[in-house]
Subunit: 348 residues, 4 copies
């Protein structure tokens, strides 16, 4: 019954993560979209911004200041980092929030300032925030009113590593994460280097040695590793629209076998609906998860004894953004965790 | 309740249309998949053939002769043309069938023989077959046990033309259909000219002047046009995976205005869940329907007076194949026509 | 000997046609690049704008006003239309110019004003301009000081039609040109609809019924057809970087056979180094000419008697822009027409 | 003068490396193509196999046994590994050979047998073979009659590492090479996993932990490192046609700075026409070298002290195959090393 559905607002609905969230909400029986914001687009129908959403019945885009937050149960925030802090700081306390930006992911305001170059503007709210890698922070997610939804690189990198670090099967150093992303990870930014002509039939790295998400990975892994972790992390841009692929090189602790890694991961994720550990030496492709909330993990022995290679894939806009946001919200409001997220991958 | 679900078999589940059907069936509450066949793949799990389907619980692939058709209510046939006739001819009468091949689309066995180069092997069954362009043959689909599901080129070409020919707003000649298809239209055939290296960053025509689907278009349009129709039809291969785009050049009858075409189409499809007539001069893109069962139509005046240009787009594997097949089956068994087909387009 | 090389300036070298011209000039023994302009980029090395050109030794980008035109023999102008007129109007008379913009292509200033929405600002110069479809205006190109280089759509559309209209083998109406272009045809413009995420795995039309190049095609065909021509012309955007493909639907004159079209075209182009008529019913692909100055043409019978389909392909940045510009310049200064243009297509 | 040109045979001209070699030879003044073989294609014109080569005048494809090797000065061998040994073993001694297969790259027949699973069939010839990473084995290449041309992964991986290992600026372990290749690296093999539909918009690893080229890298690096080297090496498939990208993670020796690596590389390659060391922290893209024989190298500090990240790119079919083969042949026969290789990259 519509009356019992929770009322949802999406702030920053005119970007790709906003659009993807709306697609998923279109499959969700327990939530109804009540408010959409898009500052530069305020006043427009969503179909003018995203023609593919025309068949869904959705409210017109408005400015944030025109949203009546008292009528909302839930807010997904897809605003740019920086802006986000100021907006969320002032929201009424009854509203549950999943924030897809980077603003509330780092626990330590000093770390935030170092990475983002300015002081955090909502330090109190940051203290309430729970890091939303659902599979590993589920209990905390249940009881918070603000989830800091992890990024796509971090989700895909952390899922294979956490269980291995938590059980001390691998060394905390070196960990080399060589990550590759589809172009939608850059959002709908209109920049020369994101033109079709520049990207197609090409491959490049970026943010080498200084990508902003590396400290987030360190922090999350440190939560489980029994000590600090600092990873090598290199992101690359793949001429594809969606998908994240992480190739992670690890060194096993003395006496640990690759088979032990495999078993630990299988056990850790055996009851998870969205994280799947493939048989040893499998070769997952990003297209096997495109359009779905799944993450696939495969373990390989390295050719050098004592080392292993972990492969993990997900859809950067879903498990790496809007899908995990919805998964977290389901947990926060007590709905089935898979609600709205049962769509299978689009292949080919 | 599972017990009340209809039992489905998919013949030829190891191709792209089979896989897409299984994805859609995963979202359908009223049907359960009981049997999957794949001759060369018999004995394999579907996940070995299509890893992206691993998260769905599906039966193992078997040979057709090992299917107990008595237990099935419904069969989707995704076999190659030719083979199809022989298989379907022998199926028990209680089973309702949607055939995705070209085998039962042409009414006239002579026409079939001319196009396909051999006599039709199931002429009696062909007489029962109903052409499944759902929006225009819905009443016949309701009462048949065999639907010949139209192809992707034909669906996308016919939808904008039928209402205009039926109301005699355009001439029956010339009609020039310049059609462009994603590569998945060729199926999973392992051929040199379908390699990534050959297709990427390239564009070409094929089947110029003699494509097998042109007679199907003529026949269908003739059903509504009040006279025979023979179209110019040129298919092209686009370096994309999914999508059909038809650019159709028509000549209006004396005194007819482009606005009249627009109004006629809007009226014809106003209550249809899957066919959407966009505002005049709109520019639909295939990606706006990718992953969905939608077809978008736009009307444009030509720069030459008295002529108009029709644009129409759909996803070749959905409205052009498996989606329309499911839509037809919903109609045949009395389920809501949109069941399993509410997933929105995957964009970007 | 370097001393005998002609001095070249490239105005607007920071766009794709400028870059492509520089690549070709790198293979030309008789010309040396002396000046490069790029207004917003003035002061930069070309390698900052186009890293792939770093290995070539090229002058730094300057502003147009800082070019000493007295030292130049030749100018290629790759500026946007509108700006071009004002710049070229004031160039010294000794300089030979090939202009790649649309500014000097239309003979009639009124036609120009109608298409581009403002009066032409260099009407006297326009009278001197020669339309540079080299194969058909070669004699005029030899003796002019200003060539208006044709666009990519027009070159590819006109080459198969001119010999057939000139010999009255086909009707002047209807002529339907359904054209498809790679994305580089839009230049390096930073626009949302040209982002990789928007273009990839999608196909769409644009400028339907009112593209600015259609009057140019009419004018050029009219030069040969013995009467006015008005074509239907629809451009489309293909998810590829380079290439133009034209599918042209024509009606033959009474008694003319498709074989006659084939023979006429073979005869017309038999001695041309860059235009190749393939055997009847061939299927050229854009990738077969990518990176080269070639244009391939194929003739097909339509399935409707009395009609034929012409296919033609070229690289939009080469035969459709910079390659033909260099070809024209070779003709203007009396160098071998193929100088700098012998590089074969890059395949795959 | 044609009479003074050296006579070239290309064995296995019907694959992508063969075709690319022919494109390059079309720009070479000192060589003329006299014989082309293609076993399954014998009797065909090259234009039937590669339409883009039609404008070049080239001999018809024949079987190897029909080649008169006495008339040839030079042979490029593009045959599959295994076959190659048997063919080259029997060639007359006057012919100079560049072999593009893996057959003669490993010095040690035992290592060959271990990697390729069968004994080497031309052990004597293997002793004569020189590994053809031109920049580092140039003197040996000059005086041999058989060059074993390195593969694309290995060339791109080895070029940044050799000078650093030779000067003992980095540790010999760990060296992690995370490599990414365009699809043309797999040749023109007709395999399901190389179809456009499977590759497009997807990314995956393959050969993880056991790729056949890793021992070749070990051997080559060992030639310079003053000790054995064993690298971690993971190849990936990028949805692009051409290009190799290597991201290499190294640990610096005590007291060495990233700036030292930069200087060493700049010095090592300052006079090389095809290897370019970019300014520190540059971000090369594969498209910046596509279509050319260039390799670009960039040095980055890792975020972990004492470690560095090396980026290197090349075109897998040129510097990674046919271009380097021609470069080696130029050295072998005393022609300018850059002959036929001056074509700039095709961008965009």
């Amino acid at each position: 019954m519509a009356a019992s559905k929770l009322a949802v607002g999406v702030l920053g609905a005119s970007g790709y993560t906003g659009a993807e969230l709306l697609r998923l909400l279109g499959q969700h029986d327990g939530l109804r979209v009540e408010a959409l914001t898009g500052d530069r687009m305020a006043g427009k129908e969503i179909a003018e911004v995203f023609p593919h959403l025309a068949p869904q019945k959705l409210p017109r885009l408005v400015k944030i200041e025109d949203v009546d937050f008292a009528t909302l149960d839930i807010v997904f925030c897809c605003l740019p980092h920086g802006t986000t802090q100021e907006v969320l700081r002032d929201l009424p306390h009854n509203v549950k929030i999943v924030d897809l930006s980077a603003d509330f992911r780092l626990y330590d305001p000093k770390a935030y300032q170092q990475v983002y170059g300015h002081p955090h503007k909502a330090i109190e709210l940051q203290r309430e925030a729970v890091y939303g890698l659902t599979e590993h922070y589920r209990e905390k997610v249940k009881s918070t009113r603000l989830v800091a939804n992890p990024g796509c690189y971090t989700t895909t990198s952390e899922l294979p590593l956490i269980p291995l670090l938590a059980e001390e099967l691998i060394e905390r150093d070196p960990i080399v994460i060589d990550a590759k992303s589809g172009v939608s990870g850059a959002g709908r930014s209109v920049r020369e280097n994101l033109l079709f002509t520049e990207i197609a039939d090409s491959f490049a790295a970026y943010g080498v040695g200084n990508h902003r998400h590396a400290p987030e990975i360190d922090q999350c892994l440190g939560d489980f590793a029994g000590g600090t972790v600092k990873v090598s992390f290199t992101p690359h841009l793949v001429p594809m629209v969606r998908g994240i692929f992480a190739t992670t090189y690890v060194r096993m602790k003395q006496g640990v076998l690759v088979q032990d890694l495999q078993e630990r991961l299988e056990e850790a994720y055996q009851d998870e609906p969205f994280v799947h550990v493939l048989p040893m030496r499998s070769l997952p492709a990003t297209k096997q998860v495109r359009g779905s909330n799944h993450c696939l993990i495969a373990v390989h022995p390295d050719r050098i004894e004592g080392r292993a290679i972990l492969l993990s894939v997900s859809d950067n806009l879903i498990k790496g953004a809007s899908g995990q946001a919805l998964q977290n919200m389901n947990v926060m409001v007590g709905l089935p965790e898979t609600a709205g997220l049962t769509i299978g991958p689009l292949f080919p």
